[in-house]
Subunit: 412 residues, 2 copies
């Protein structure tokens, strides 16, 4: 009894010790796996996701995906896209706008038809369930691709620009597909609301890209005269989370807002330390983003051979339809670049899970299909990085930018 | 109905939009208040706490202290102490060790007697309740002081070193006081467990300060040969959260572990970019730490004049007993420095709240006393920064270190 009392006392004294311990375990596991994968010449990103699978509920169950980890994961992917946005000028987006739109549209249509068609033919599923699976296969999550391309120093490559821009457009179209699917589930399609959603999402994205940079350039001078320390970093963080929250409220993914905030800041903050500072934030939070994806893998979904078979079919279809759809959209860039764009758009992310959650909430899909979508999201995310590395392997790399640490060491 | 459906759809599509929105609101409110307070020549820290009071449940109630905000707050104060640790060499700690121990011991004894004595004399409270109030008044939370002194560029001043070291020792003693109080509440004092706790806490702190720097120095070379990017930052983060978690598991505050991790790293990472990178992490997370303190202020505790009166008495006593106790401990440093040390130790933090929570969990204290402790923690935290600024006003400031942004602009 006394020993129990002692243990209880420790737990009571350290109510948040559990949080610190889980942060520590995730950091260590993710980074050890990243190092191991780098040495095996495999993508570090995959190592960090698999670390999440291993420490998560699927295998060891030492860490569970709590609210806190989810929040750090969310912040992590936001910083990831924000940092990439900082390296992207508005003109980079406009230059590839037309091609990216085609990539995004075909990258929505083909996977939707694939998912919908598959479940329509599979016995035992309603047409509504088929529509939801189609909708869940639509949205690309560009965070993984960005992480791999950043690591390779290829974020400025032409195919990378097309992928980034297409991912933003893809997200807007995905929102509309989801809205239509939800309308069908409730039995009424309100064209006015759909139009409003579309106008809001498109208007927001276009306005930020077109005018954000100019607005930031104008207030940039006043930021320097603020009394608080690190005012530029603070301003950037406020813009990042402001646009991310606004994007979320409109209904598109928060990461789109964060990316656009980075784009708006890119020209006005060139040559400042902002980029290095946001890299530190990205490095700290990204392991939580990656490991949390792995923690969501639920191996019990494979308990019946029917669901296992469906999962395999959905995963293959998810990979092929994006590859073909987006590849076709980029066909005029030549075969090599079309493949690069296609594989870059393969990873699905949170939006696919959100679609499935809404489907479950509306009783439109079964638990089995929900599990299949979850598995599809995790597996497409793990499968993409090796394909991306392969597709971009022959790409000319820019000269390696010296790491920040080294630069400061140089200037002492 | 249709309008409701639209709103529901938005909420469903943006399940984490609420999180992003709350992060945005906290950031903006805290930093606007910081800027306003800087212009009024008041401590920015107080502005950020008051921003938390205003947006929190006490006034506007637009943001509630959620798990996510609490976690970011915890991470924030961890980075704050870690960054300060990076600026503190082990020898800085040993040099002031004796004096700091005296400051810590008197800074525990005097406030404990004050809190215990007050409630013993006040009618209607048990002796056990008095013991718990005494225990809740013991632990200094050095985060606020550190933030103020960092902002003034005075973290390397002699009084600052004494405050930092005393706060670490204070935390270890506070743990033991809490353990005794809890033992009294259960009616049995186990001297073996108390001794074990003491040995663990002291052993951990002394070992890290004495040998941490040497161990880090030895592995430093190997870190550079890792394949992952930003390996030094990653290593530092792992050490920071590892020691913070270990400290929590032992029963002392996580921030003590983070501070000691910084100390262990300080010599081996001098001249690298680590310090600037950890500053970026601190700048992002500190507003959540400060605003969350403010959100905890519960004004309804003042609904009866009896509780209001008790609160005022406890707050005055909390300020005076630390000032006198710690000031006496530092008396041989001269009157000016003794006052500096005294005011630097005034802010109480989470540990005080934890003590009160344990007291409530053991039915040892009433809701009213819990509310009083919470108020005491918030008010001592708000009251300390102006006093610290005043006490350190005549201190010679080091030449202003150019901000990181400017340095990078110089090297282009």
């Amino acid at each position: 009894m006394a020993a129990t009392g002692f243990h209880e006392l420790l737990l009571a004294v350290a109510p948040r010790g559990q949080v610190l311990l889980s942060l520590f375990i995730v950091l260590v596991a993710a980074k050890l796996a990243a190092e191991l994968f780098e040495r095996l010449r495999q993508p570090a990103v995959v190592g960090e996701i698999i670390a999440g699978v291993i420490i998560g509920p699927a295998v060891l169950n030492v860490v569970q995906p709590t609210d806190v980890l989810e929040a750090l994961a969310e912040v992590g992917v936001i910083f990831l896209l924000f940092t990439v946005g900082l390296e992207t000028r508005p003109s980079d987006i406009f230059r590839v706008g037309g091609r990216a739109t085609l990539v995004a549209v075909l990258g929505v249509v083909v996977p939707f038809i694939g998912g919908w068609g598959l479940l329509s033919l599979w016995r035992g599923h309603s047409w509504l369930e088929a529509v939801f699976l189609g909708a869940a296969m639509v949205a690309t999550s560009v965070g993984i691709t960005v992480r791999v391309l950043s690591g390779m120093g290829l974020i400025a490559a032409k195919a990378s620009r097309v992928i980034l821009t297409a991912a933003v457009i893809d997200d807007v179209i995905g929102l509309l597909v989801l809205a239509v699917a939800s309308s069908l589930a409730t039995g009424r399609v309100n064209y006015f609301h759909l139009g409003l959603l579309a106008a809001l999402a498109i208007g927001f994205s276009v306005l930020v890209v077109a005018f954000g940079s100019r607005v930031v350039g104008r207030v940039r001078g006043r930021i320097g005269s603020l009394r608080i320390d690190h005012s530029l970093l603070i301003f950037a963080l406020v813009l990042c989370f402001g646009l991310a929250a606004l994007a979320s409220v409109i209904g598109i993914a928060g990461i789109v807002g964060a990316f656009l905030a980075g784009v708006a800041l890119s020209e006005a903050t060139e040559g400042t330390g902002l980029h290095h500072q946001s890299q530190a934030l990205t490095e700290f939070t990204t392991p939580f983003f990656l490991a949390t994806i792995g923690m969501k893998l639920n191996l019990t979904v494979f308990s019946t051979s029917e669901v296992l078979l469906l999962s395999v079919a959905v995963i293959i279809l998810a990979i092929l339809t994006k590859l073909v759809g987006c590849g076709l959209g980029a066909a005029r860039m030549g075969r090599r670049r079309a493949v690069q764009v296609g594989v870059g758009m393969i990873p699905r992310g949170e939006v696919g899970i959100v679609v499935a959650q809404i489907g479950i909430g509306m009783s439109a899909i079964s638990d089995a299909v929900y599990g299949v979508v979850l598995t599809m999201v995790v597996i497409t995310t793990i499968a993409a990085p090796p394909l991306i590395k392969l597709a971009f392997a022959s790409e000319k790399r820019p000269e390696k930018v010296p790491e920040y640490t080294e630069r400061l060491e140089e200037i002492g």
